[in-house]
């Protein structure tokens, strides 16, 4: 087990501070950042206008006319320290998405390689992907685009030395125990194991960016013909369903 976390609260901008639990993407620091973000959402300190969780940190923007940076730091440090000392598990999800995806074949050109490096058959690898207890760890790089994890420890695969030429929108790619579901066609050094008709960002949809950090994610494996049908729907949800957990 890693050494204890030592959270830091650092100035990030004229109107922002960063609560950081670690420099690297350690699972315990990820859990702590999620717990911190959840607590801040539920009980937002006066003057805080925006809460944005990253992998192991939470950015808070504040209104300097309402609260000073020093006062905010004084209020946040005991809270962050208490969370770090508890070595928390990720908080329970508030919502659970089930997202249909096609794995392998032309929609997952690297599935066989990934399964091989895990000592699994492709079917077994897909089973692990679909059974994993996954959360949206953070959203970023592009609007609505989720970093999802954590896959079982064996999935701690390095990024590829070369970028994959281009993966399509909806590509389900894996590396470092995480999944990214691309919002738009992109080059990537991660391995594409599947593809979904779920669009993480559609500007004209009522909810352009439906996923939130902390949401639970479960993939369901579907045949390519079914995805072709789902991709025709104008809502861009690709047949994904969401269940509110209370």
């Amino acid at each position: 087990m890693q050494a204890g976390l030592t959270p830091q609260i650092l100035p990030a901008a004229a109107d922002a501070v960063l609560v950081r639990f670690a420099l690297r993407a350690e699972p315990q620091a990820m859990a702590a950042a999620q717990v911190m973000a959840r607590q801040l959402d539920a009980d937002t300190p006066e003057g805080v206008v925006e809460i944005a969780p990253a992998l192991v940190s939470v950015l808070l923007r504040f209104d300097p006319a309402v609260v000073s940076r020093d006062d905010l730091v004084r209020a946040l440090l005991p809270q962050a320290t208490a969370i770090a000392e508890q070595r928390p598990d990720p908080p329970p999800p508030l919502r659970r998405w089930t997202i249909p995806a096609v794995f392998g074949g032309e929609h997952g050109p690297h599935l066989d390689d990934v399964a091989g490096s895990l000592g699994l058959s492709p079917d077994q690898a897909v089973q692990q992907l679909c059974r994993a207890d996954l959360r949206v760890l953070t959203i970023g790089f592009a609007p609505g685009q989720p970093y999802i994890g954590l896959l079982p420890p064996a999935w701690d695969l390095p990024r590829m030395a070369d970028l994959a030429p281009r993966v399509p929108a909806g590509a389900v790619v894996v590396a470092v125990r995480q999944i990214v579901m691309f919002g738009a066609a992109s080059a990537t050094g991660w391995r594409q194991v599947g593809c979904s008709a779920f669009r993480t960002f559609l500007p004209d949809r009522e909810t352009p960016m439906p996923l939130r950090a902390g949401d639970a994610i479960r993939y369901s494996s579907i045949p390519a013909e079914e995805m072709a049908e789902l991709s025709k729907r104008s809502d861009g949800m690709g047949g994904a369903t969401v269940e509110v957990l209370e």
Partner: protein, 339 residues
């Protein structure tokens, strides 16, 4: 509701306002005008109580006409401007009539010029903003023939106003505060960074601006950093140790280490630094930065207090041609009282 029509385009034109704050958790950066001060100066000139949606023009402008009499403000990078045959002063507001053509040419200094109608552009909203965010497919570049809805000018008979802009169109010194990753750089790297002169590189757009110099600035802690939230003004050191300044349309999350952040008040100077201009950075302590910090609302009040009437704006002189006794155009300036 009235409109501005774009007759001819020379630069890269988009609609911009103050952007969309509040969506970082969903991966959406604020976006909005590259030179936010230019929108504030326009609001001050037009007597508006907050920044309005404007046309942002990169490098050069356009030929424009209006559907109803309206005041427009010209701010940001000074560009040549003519209303029919009369030269117009930049950093000023002017009345434009429907039968006139406003011709805006190349930037004389700086990069981004702005045309702001007194009623504000009323193009469609997305997440409470009209700003184009080209990187993610929101809005688009404007073309000849486009008709942009505008609010009516609440006071078309209002006097033309001028303001001395904050000088920011030639590069210069930029103030920087420490960020969450500044401590990842060794002291000698920091010292070298703040004593180096940089050139604004040729790779620059609404996402970011590359800086050039012979030295390199790297951190021994760069490998394996967890990505975290990034934002406009961040001085991100790419793999080879050259800084890349993040600007309005930057991504929200990044993994390269950042040596510091340009203070918001100096970001317009960064945006307006022309290719090849020289930039230096000065490190502020946080108490110094906090003491210098002004909200945009405060800045608007301060700029509004500096605006004054432009006496005898050529555009409002009906028999202007009779004043041009030597042929050619006037420089405009000699028509201004007090100069």
């Amino acid at each position: 509701m009235t409109a501005i029509r774009i007759e001819k385009v020379a630069g890269m034109l988009t609609v911009q306002d103050i952007g969309r704050p509040g969506h970082l958790a969903q991966g959406l950066s604020r976006g909005g005008a590259m030179d936010r001060l230019a929108l504030i100066e326009a609001a001050a000139l037009l007597g508006a109580d907050r920044p309005l949606a404007a046309i942002e023009m990169a490098g050069a402008g356009a030929h424009l006409s209006v559907a109803a009499p309206m005041r427009i403000a010209l701010t940001g990078a000074p560009m040549t401007a003519m209303l029919d045959d009369a030269p117009l002063r930049w950093h000023a507001s002017h009345l434009v009539q429907p039968d006139q053509t406003l011709r805006i040419g190349s930037a004389q200094a700086g990069v981004y010029g702005y045309v702001t109608p007194a009623g504000g552009l009323r193009t469609p909203l997305w997440l409470d903003s009209r700003a184009a965010h080209l990187n993610i497919g929101i809005g688009r570049m404007l073309n000849a023939g486009d008709r942009l809805d505008c609010g009516d000018d609440p006071a078309p008979q209002g006097a033309s106003r001028i303001v001395e802009p904050e000088a920011r169109f030639q590069g210069g010194e930029l103030r920087v505060t420490d960020g969450p990753q500044t401590a990842l750089f060794d002291d000698d790297v920091l010292e070298a960074f703040f004593s180096t002169g940089f050139t604004r590189g040729s790779r620059a757009n609404r996402q970011g601006i590359q800086l050039d110099t012979d030295s390199r600035f790297t951190s021994n802690h760069a490998a394996g950093l967890a990505s975290d939230m990034i934002g406009p003004g961040d001085l991100q050191m790419t793999g080879d140790g050259l800084p890349f300044v993040l600007m309005a349309e930057c991504q929200t999350m990044g993994g390269y280490p950042r040596i510091g952040r340009i203070v918001p008040a100096d970001l317009p100077r960064m945006a307006q630094a022309p290719a090849g201009s020289t930039l230096r950075f000065r490190r502020l302590t946080w108490p110094e930065a906090d003491a210098a910090f002004r909200t945009e609302a405060d800045t608007l009040r301060e700029v509004a207090a500096r605006c004054r009437n432009l006496i005898r704006d050529p555009a409002t002189i009906p028999d202007l041609l009779s004043y041009q006794l030597i042929g050619g155009v006037t420089a405009g300036r000699e028509l201004e009282a007090g100069r």
